[in-house]
Symmetry: C2
Subunit: 453 residues, 2 copies
């Protein structure tokens, strides 16, 4: 699907006639036009902006990867005119990327409608759904006829892209339902419009948190979902394109957090920015690592007598950590997707521990036989001594894996309960708790079985 | 946004009149109706299916979480009729959940159109975009007038939901462009339809791999993107709702893989299913862990002489692992989002190593001072001995972090190059390589500085 634009760029440069260029480009999707324009010179870009007019340029700007770069090339007045024509959520996204001075210069010059919308969106927190809505939708009054509704649609469609669902307001400007455009199109002129209005249409309220409502919105798989105020006035809509972006971002954030980054990174970031995103977690882990070290230190005497036990410390700790991370990942996903009852949580916990037990049993037996042979043949221990040591490793693996599964399930549930994002908070704690459990189990067993007995 | 349906269920049970029930439910979104129906008894459900008719029931079925459960309640004939009315991609999704016998029974009874579509979708691999398309779209012939196009739209809109973009075919049934419904609605009757056709509309071809084209499709943020055959015939469309599902799934898969699961899990899976998804990675890690253990074993002599060094092994290994995972996560995301040039890859590698160097330096100095004091006060070593040991830890941390950053960047790039999914393949290898590097660096330094000197 990747396209090559060199031919088109050549055509643009050859065609000196403005109308030809305009017609040529009108055959392309705005996303392609954005890509093409980004390959031209500043002067050529300015010429095309002029040909297009502000509205069309605004559509193209929504597709630029770094729109702020192109805003810098044009005057503040033109930038304001372009942003005035953009969807409110896209406008806010671009404005947020500019420095404070430039942002306020542009906001000052936005047209009245755009200013109101942009200010409304900026009044929401980044975590609230209101921040992501667009004010670009079609809304009609209750009680129109099919014909009047169709005429109203045609009138509003010029300015508003999201026409698949037509929203209905009552006399007191409260949200009263929605009409699927398809139903309006196939309705006959003398049908009753009320018949095709869905009165209990799903909606979200503006201050709902993204995390809490996004899965629900996805479930409806609609082209747009209305965002209402507390008193049921229609403020904007969340389109399916917004949903794609939000889901993509949310998952990216989770993915980053699981890997111990405070936020998703990309190629354009500087070393210092990346460093800042990674250092906090690493410093926490360093301190927690010292804690684990001091516990290992308590078993120094075991190691002094039987240095071979040290060989398998990393094995037991790594396996406990891996199992804990698996349980953590599953629990975080389940917590995010569903509203669990206490009973379901208990069920998940029991299931995780069962999985830990079965996998721990299998790996424990594998470790017992594999390591027993290894110690006998490569380390020169007798069969009994070798299997005593590998038995310790096997039992430690089993115990550590069951406990790690439990810890990996309970800790994210606890963080979820106290409203802390489990993805970011659980990682370090789980690693440490699992390390401690594994160290104590392993060296404890070695002390009791190998040294005491 | 979560709704309570008890009132509605009570209303349904009280209203014995079919028309009242039908009117009541017609005010709800299909997703809500699916939720409501799942709370009723089997008999009540069957009654509502009858009231709705197959087409409406098919719409509701697309929203069930476990549609196969409800298919079991009805006759094979009715199931086939319902599935015949579903979007082809939804139909395939349900059919894939049934056992082979039931699936073939139903496929045998599907109506002719549905069979052809379902068979076509099933002919694609799960990784190919063709598998996810729907054949439910509006397509008109080239050369119609605005009025004819509008009439054709009204005719086809009854059967096809995705009307936001109207596709245009030429005389030889080749894809010739697309019309935005909005443009058609605001067009005047005697405008030339050709004027509003976008001839170079973006498209994908049916055998393109999901991984390769999904980011591109997202970039266009369209309601639907056409899927063409090699010879440019229109086979189906990918809707924005499909894109939400695909992105959600893809990211979930990656997230799962990073945590060492072979696929995403949910609450409904049995212990055995979960066990199977987790065991493969754990067994690989066990074998790699034995490898690391045998390398640690080579340094047994160091530990025998100076047991305190063992305390900090877990610290150095864990930190190396953490840094490696961070680089891995960033590299996988960057590789997925963009087509990198060799130069950009080198840039990313250098950047990752710089981040590793800076963070390693900071953490190394912290470890040096923190552990030096700890060893002096708690372990009873003199200041010089304490700082010699903590110095070893600090230098090992720095070295291990730089090398882990490099390994965490190079290995996923290598897997990407040889077309193996880096998310699933890199994890175990990176953990092991980092462990080995960290062990050799740490014990090597300890051997040279603390024992030899």
């Amino acid at each position: 699907m990747k396209r090559r634009y060199s031919d088109i760029i050549k055509l643009i440069r050859d065609h000196k006639n403005d109308n030809d260029i305009l017609e040529l480009l009108s055959n392309y999707h705005e996303n392609d036009i954005a890509d093409i324009i980004s390959l031209l010179t500043t002067e050529e870009r300015k010429k095309i902006y002029k040909l297009f007019g502000f509205q069309k340029v605004a559509e193209v700007f929504a597709y630029f990867e770094e729109p702020e770069k192109y805003l810098d090339e044009i005057s503040i007045e033109n930038a304001a005119s372009i942003i005035s024509f953009m969807d409110s959520d896209d406008a806010v996204e671009i404005l947020e990327k500019l420095d404070t001075k430039k942002k306020s210069e542009i906001v000052k010059r936005l047209d009245a409608d755009a200013v109101a919308d942009v200010k409304m969106l900026l009044s929401y927190d980044e975590e609230e759904i209101g921040r992501y809505m667009t004010t670009n939708y079609v809304c009609i009054k209750k009680g129109l006829s099919v014909r009047q509704a169709m005429r109203e649609l045609v009138r509003q469609a010029g300015d508003n892209d999201n026409i698949m669902t037509i929203y209905v307001e009552d006399e007191s400007e409260r949200f009263a339902g929605a009409i699927d455009l398809k139903d309006l199109i196939i309705a006959r002129e003398n049908d009753d419009l009320e018949e095709i209005v869905i009165h209990s249409y799903p909606y979200v309220t503006d201050h709902e948190l993204l995390d809490n409502c996004i899965e629900n919105i996805v479930d409806y798989s609609e082209d747009s979902i209305p965002v209402l105020s507390e008193d049921k006035r229609l403020l904007g809509v969340i389109t399916s394109e917004d949903i794609v972006d939000i889901v993509d971002d949310e998952m990216g954030e989770d993915y980053a957090k699981l890997a111990g980054l405070t936020a998703e990174e990309d190629l354009k970031e500087t070393t210092v920015q990346s460093m800042k995103k990674r250092l906090p977690w690493l410093v926490i882990l360093l301190f927690l690592g010292v804690l684990v070290s001091s516990v290992v230190g308590m078993f120094e005497s075991v190691v002094a007598v039987l240095p071979i036990v040290i060989c398998f410390q990393s094995l037991v700790l790594d396996m406990a950590g891996n199992v804990g991370t698996q349980s953590l990942a599953v629990t975080i996903r389940v917590l995010m997707d569903e509203n669990l009852t206490g009973r379901q949580k208990l069920f998940l916990l029991v299931k995780e521990m069962k999985v830990g037990l079965v996998n721990g049993g299998i790996l424990g037996i594998m470790a017992l036989t594999l390591l027993g042979a290894y110690i006998h043949f490569f380390k020169g221990y007798g069969w009994i001594g070798a299997f005593a040591i590998s038995g310790c490793v096997g039992i430690s693996l089993l115990a550590a894996m069951v406990i790690s599964s439990m810890v990996g399930t309970v800790i994210p549930m606890f963080f979820h309960k106290i409203k802390i994002d489990p993805a970011v908070a659980s990682g370090p704690l789980i690693t440490t708790v699992n390390d401690l459990v594994a160290v104590v189990t392993y060296y404890g067993l070695a002390y009791i079985f190998l040294i005491q007995l």
